[in-house]
């Protein structure tokens, strides 16, 4: 008998994680995105600082506008404070075009937000490790080993050097592919499909289908 959870417990667990994150942060949750931002932390930190400065500028402009209105009144001839154009410091995000998803946007508790702060994304990755560690110890499955288990040995390779090369290449494909596709199994698979985003449904179908094909090749052919 498997020591792993039954399917329904896993489904409830994954759903609760995704729903809780979405409702508490008003953001979609994605591990590859967190990886991407943490790995480019210098650039991301600069962008965060720019955004903070922009917020300050906006607050300054609003204060000036209020003071101007108080001093000169709000008539047609009164001078106005300069308008600070809204910037999108995160080049990967775009606002929805006018009219898109108007009905869904009527939800009053939801606001449009930028990426989660960099430090919170780093905390997410560290917490995933700690969560995995707790699971490994509490289930009694923790075992330090220098291979990837009998499944990898039987299906892929038993040679340690080939194993290291394949794990590295597989990792590169995962990293490159998830960022090229704009998401991974959590971002596209759980959050995106949960929101019925067409791009996420297409991406999930393609990466799952490809993994099925390659796994059959490893199992039956190679």
């Amino acid at each position: 008998m498997s020591t792993y959870w039954p399917w329904w417990a896993g489904a409830v667990g994954l759903a609760l994680v995704t729903i809780n994150y979405t409702l508490t942060t008003d953001r979609s949750f994605g591990v590859s995105s967190a990886w991407d931002r943490v790995l480019h932390w210098r650039r991301e930190r600069r962008l965060e600082q720019m955004e903070e400065e922009f917020t300050d500028d906006q607050a300054l402009a609003e204060a000036l506008a209020a003071a101007t209105a108080e001093h000169f009144g709000t008539g047609a001839g009164a001078p106005t404070a300069p308008q600070v154009p809204h910037q999108m410091p995160y080049g990967e995000s775009q606002p929805p075009p006018p009219g898109v998803e108007q009905a869904a946007d009527e939800t009053p508790s939801v606001t449009s937000t930028g990426p989660a702060p960099l430090v919170t994304q780093a905390a997410l990755l560290v917490s995933i490790f700690l969560g995995g560690l707790i699971a490994a110890f509490t289930s009694g499955r923790f075992q330090l080993r220098y291979d990837m288990g009998p499944g990898f040995r039987d299906l892929v390779t038993a040679d340690p050097v080939t194993m290291v090369v394949l794990l590295f290449l597989g990792g590169v494909l995962v990293g490159f592919g998830t960022r090229l596709a704009g998401g991974c199994s959590s971002g596209h698979g759980l959050s995106g499909c949960g929101r019925l985003r067409p791009v996420s449904i297409v991406a999930t179908a393609v990466f799952f289908g490809t993994a099925v094909g390659v796994s059959f090749l490893l199992w039956k052919v190679i």
Partner: protein
């Protein structure tokens, strides 16, 4: 609950819960993963599909905002590369971390590979592809 501290707390809770859940489902076990992808054992597949079903229903009831997203030129090639890498290494971006936590030391190599791939993608996109790829973390 939108302050920096609240978002940090939410990320910590989410990370702990995700690591614990994914490890207990068995996604870090290469043999289990291959059995799922070859349909020998549908337990993990039902976990994933069941989670998506629950999320769709809850989001519909709560009228959660749908973020825009278009199918750009990188989606299908990226997903093909990701699927290939996942089947070979057994890791999506979270799983190698969980494998290391479970004692699989070679998964550190996968973690390094994922980091190299992510940096490579941003570099290649800025230099050659020029795609607005969107982001799942928004």
């Amino acid at each position: 609950m939108r302050t920096r501290g609240a978002v940090l707390l939410a990320n910590i809770i989410t990370g702990l819960a995700l690591g614990y859940t994914v490890a207990n489902i068995g996604f870090g076990d290469y043999a289990e993963l291959n059995r799922m992808f070859t349909f020998q054992d549908l337990r993990m597949f039902f976990s994933f599909a069941g989670a998506v079903g629950i999320i769709v229903c809850v989001f519909a009831v709560l009228r959660v905002r749908r973020t825009p997203g278009r199918i750009h030129a990188g989606v299908i090639p990226g997903a093909v590369l990701f699927g290939t890498g996942w089947a070979i290494s057994g890791g999506c971006p979270a799983i190698p971390i969980i494998q290391v936590a479970g004692g699989y030391l070679p998964a550190l190599v996968t973690v390094v590979g994922v980091a190299v791939g992510i940096r490579l993608c941003r570099w290649a996109n800025a230099r050659y592809f020029h795609l607005d790829r969107g982001s799942c973390g928004l």
